[in-house]
Amino acid sequence: MQRKMKVNGTVFLLFITIAMFALMYIAGMIIFADKGFAKPQMFLNLFISNAGLLVIACGLTLVMITGGIDISVGSVVALVCMVSADLMENKGFSAVQALLVALLIGIAFGVVQGYLVSYLEIQPFIVTLAGMFFGRGMTAIISTEMISIKNETFLAWANAKIYLPFGYTNKHGMLVKSYIYPTVVVAVLIVIMVAVLLKFTKFGRSLYAIGGNQQSAIMMGLNVKNAKMRAYVLDGFLAGLGGFLFCLNSCAGFVEQAKGLEMDAISAAVIGGTLLSGGVGTVVGTMFGVLIKGTIASLITTQGTLSSWWVRIALSALLCFFIVLQAIIGSTSKKNAKTGEIHKFTKRKKAA
């Protein structure tokens, strides 16, 4: 009974998110048909521009499912971009080495923050707040100047268009094929992998158990500390990878980069149906959360005369909507959970 309700709640939230995205996008296609909104490339651009954010939001979903949070990811992205740029431009590293260092930085953040959160049981908000300051500070220490990446391998990766077998004819009568960048492939693969991890592995299921009720997870014999630790390490790794994808999009290291990205990632996860209190969430939902954010920005840019601050306002309205929705589902499932427990209890008593 309890389980069924919870699954229904998750599915319902996911459904709402996807429906919301579809509705917004189709509305955009109708209203802005003359402004190119219906072009397939417009849709692909959502992925191209948000590939890094997508990967980072997947990592955040993992820790949010355990009931935690990570607000250091934006700084990790800035640090990763800066270190990669510095290593390739000033220290003679190759692009592959820079990628490895980027991933190591992410993992290092994950290990330290994960240890503090899971073994020393410090509030994740405070731990990752420290991580956020540290990351941004270190970025500025390396350089306060912009570093432009001119490494040939790196630029080849960044500019490697993968053409798709469809496109559109532009007004000069030229056929323009749709394309994506390798970053999109990586991001989509990550979404699929994390989705499988969450759904079909013991580790993934234990994250839901911990987030749902840590006490009962311990009683069930789960190694809660270890699982949480692993969630943060994986989150750190994804922040490192996401940072590198972000860097491939911007081709530069700069201390002001990715400011507020953590909040974009958190809001994407929440819009995608992840509960801040933990226990509920899917990466597919998070992906749609990211796409919704991208679509709002795209709609407002296409409109052309509205202030771009409307993106924030629309996002806040959406966030509000989803939080209320979650609260309703949360309270109904709790009610059901309670009656379910009582039911079980009486059953056991009868058996005794």
Binding site: A27, F32, S49, V176, A252, S298, T301, T302, Q303, T305
Partner: protein, 362 residues
Amino acid sequence: MKKKVLSLLLCGVMVMGTLVGCGSSGSSDGGSSDGGSDSGDTITVGFSQVGAESDWRTANTASMKETFSEENGYTLIFDDAQQKQENQITAIRNFIQQEVDYIVLAPVTETGWDTVLQEAKDAGIPVIIVDRMVDVSDDSLYTAWVGSDFRAEGNKACEWLNAFAEAKGINAGDLNIVDIQGTIGASAQIGRSEGLNDAVKKYGWNLVAQQTGEFTQAKGQEVMESLLKQNDNINVVYCENDNEAFGAIDALEAAGYKVGDDIANGEVMVMSFDSTNAGLTDVLSGKITVNTECNPLHGPRVEEIIKKLQSGKDVDQLQYVDESIFAVDDTVTSIEAETSLGETSKYDVTVVTQDVIDGRAY
């Protein structure tokens, strides 16, 4: 439960309201303008602006909006990037899909534009960069750049000082100058400092000290205070923007100096750059003696480029906006200074009156 469902519905309505709100205003807009897809009567321009962080920036945006208005035969798609490069990249991709005729970009950062500018080039859309320069591996990725010639600004100010000293019969060696520099590494700082350094060598002035005031009033004041403690012979203060000049004037007056152009009788002359409204007001009152303009009105020059491109003409890749120089009186009426392109041009010095200040947009 009923209450909750109700609140949910209300939230839903609110969200829809926001969306429909954007939508309806959008469709009416789409109806009145022909967009880019129609024949050639209106020209669609996508403009990605840094943000609205300063008066200069606001004036820059206003100039673009004014120039590319519907009355002038343009449809302007304006996007404020809120200081984020990633927003600008997304906006440019959006412009490309909308098949705008021209993209105008005021970049947040100098680097990181290769990929997206390549996309614009592949789509055959000319890109015009304004204000800051972009640092790209291939210069053909943008069609033209429009901005301020900071080096020429520095040269102009120094040529004015030289002409002033000659007119007043002051020996070059008696000019004891301190330079309150801008944020080190900013292109405005580099150009204006270089202009001064070269002039010091050329005319044999005495450069007492150079220190950064980071383009702020507070820092400008602090630097001026410490410079006054170390030296008692300063008679010219070369401030690299108006804010620094305000700080320096406060420090000078607090230390008992008189600010003005009568160097021979112990006054300290303040020179400044930018020519903002407040800066020119100080020129009018005589506190700042000379103020070299940094013109944010890029719209007309960008339009000129677009018109040339429309008629199939070639354009110069680097183009500077016209900038003048303002002074407290007509001791010097005109100067000749070299630009970054190596040409020497003649500039008339504008004497500041209330009418001049009122007639300016920023």
